[in-house]
Symmetry: C2
Subunit: 284 residues, 2 copies
């Protein structure tokens, strides 16, 4: 595996692989890699001749109040994991090269970005969209891989790829969970032991929502209210949002029907965690 | 010359040319072609193995109050001129394909776009940036050609190419003028005979500014004031802006020094015309 911080040299390496007839798979990350990321890398290794992983802690997608400065970093471990998973190129650009003085061009999705995490994290998705357009242009991949944990992000990226006429396929892979069903996240490292225990309420709430829907409950307000109570009963949990929306366009729903997204963001102590499930609900 | 309205088929044609070892030159236009556009096409034909011209009257860069609906259109003439000039592909996408229902991703430059035409034409450069990212992704050119008449646009596009890591060169070619020095523009077609005569005050004002500077005048306010009077003396002329700015970063200038842009936008009757000159002024 080659490690490259230089933008144009990374570009050249990918071009060379492409000239050698290899298809290019790409997984953009912010490092602090876990099994969720690695599942994407392994899928890419299965499907593509040349697999690029970027590690870039994108300052543009953090607001001044957020956790950029103490976001988990472990380059040595990341490097080792990526090598083991079979990545060919680790692209590791520096912020000063990626956002040089005078940088002033931004990419923004204006519909799907306005709800859920976009409402709590102003400017977050603008930062995500901008860095992804840059990364797509540097790497020029055939297939990009995203995780379903960031479901809203994945929808926005799908929209961006289509709207801006990028020639690339996108794959969204399932959430990878710990044994106790907590969705893997780099931010889980923030949790102390008691917070880690309470964080289980997040998946339990989603499982309860699914159970209610399986039993025939259609009223989204009722479902949200029931699972909110479950989470609020925990001492360290504070709900940012719990919402049920159309899983394609993120429009709000009164009745659970069709492909629905149940998504939530919950603070456990100071750590903001997100999770979601997507259900296909048939009208009976 | 092939004419293609279909986005993915246009993309394939360019890919085929590239596979055959040809470099790709690209000139994005809104049609109603004149010698200004054709000078770009000819340069591209000289330099590249495969030359693509797009004609797309981009609704996104017109505000509701502007002249989209009656912007000059002459596809037959455009097609003939491009064939004669040696273009290989005329890409002619339809607005409904380029901005399908649900389109919601936009590209915006936030510094250079805020002054000059960006101040008078809110959202204009956002429309320009968005459509250019789309076109660059469809055509994937090696070199793009722009005219200096839209000097601010050219600076913004140069910024966008760099900021978003596009792998393409940009060439900015000189303004092409009529015999009487009026800068060629599709909008000149709007002018009636007396307006056409009065429109000469625009270039005369720029020439006067150059003369004042050549004679040693450094005070930008004085220069702007003098040439404003020249234009205001015309019955049908109404100044939108006349400004002298740093030609690299568009910062305002008190003293004329270095590479300076003298740019103006003037309504002649209902027609808004722009023009500019760039001077290298040495400190004596």
């Amino acid at each position: 595996m080659v490690i490259q911080t230089n933008i144009s040299q990374a570009k050249q390496l990918v071009q060379k692989a492409r000239k050698n007839g290899k298809s290019v798979g790409f997984i953009p990350t912010m490092g602090a890699l876990h099994e969720g990321h690695l599942s994407l890398v392994r899928e890419a290794v299965d499907e593509c001749g040349f697999v690029v992983v970027s590690i870039f802690l994108n300052p543009l997608q953090f607001s001044p109040k957020e956790d950029l400065s103490h976001y988990p970093r472990d380059f040595k471990s990341d490097r080792k994991l990526l090598k083991l998973a079979g990545a060919d190129l680790l692209f590791y650009p520096q912020a000063k090269d990626f956002y040089p003085s005078g940088f002033s061009t931004y990419v923004e999705e204006t519909h799907l970005s306005k709800v859920l995490c976009g409402k709590s994290r102003l400017g977050h998705f603008r930062g995500v969209c901008t860095v992804l357009v840059k990364l797509f242009n540097v790497i020029n991949p055939d297939i990009v891989y995203f995780g379903q944990k960031d479901y809203q992000q994945a929808l926005i990226v799908r929209r961006l790829i289509s709207d801006l006429n990028f020639s690339l396929k996108m794959k969204i892979l399932p959430i990878v969970r710990d044994k106790d069903n907590l969705a893997l996240s780099s931010r889980n490292a923030y949790l102390n032991r008691s917070e880690r225990k309470e964080s289980l309420c997040i998946y339990e709430a989603l499982a309860l929502a699914k159970e209610l829907i399986d039993r025939g409950e259609k009223n989204t307000k009722k479902i949200v209210s029931t699972i909110s109570k479950k989470i609020s009963s925990k001492k360290r949990a504070k709900i940012d949002y719990i919402e049920i929306r159309n899983a394609e366009n993120l429009n709000p729903l009164d009745k659970v029907t069709g492909k629905v997204l149940i998504a939530l963001a919950v603070y456990i102590g100071k750590t903001r965690l997100i999770d979601n499930i997507v259900l296909n609900v048939k009208n009976k």
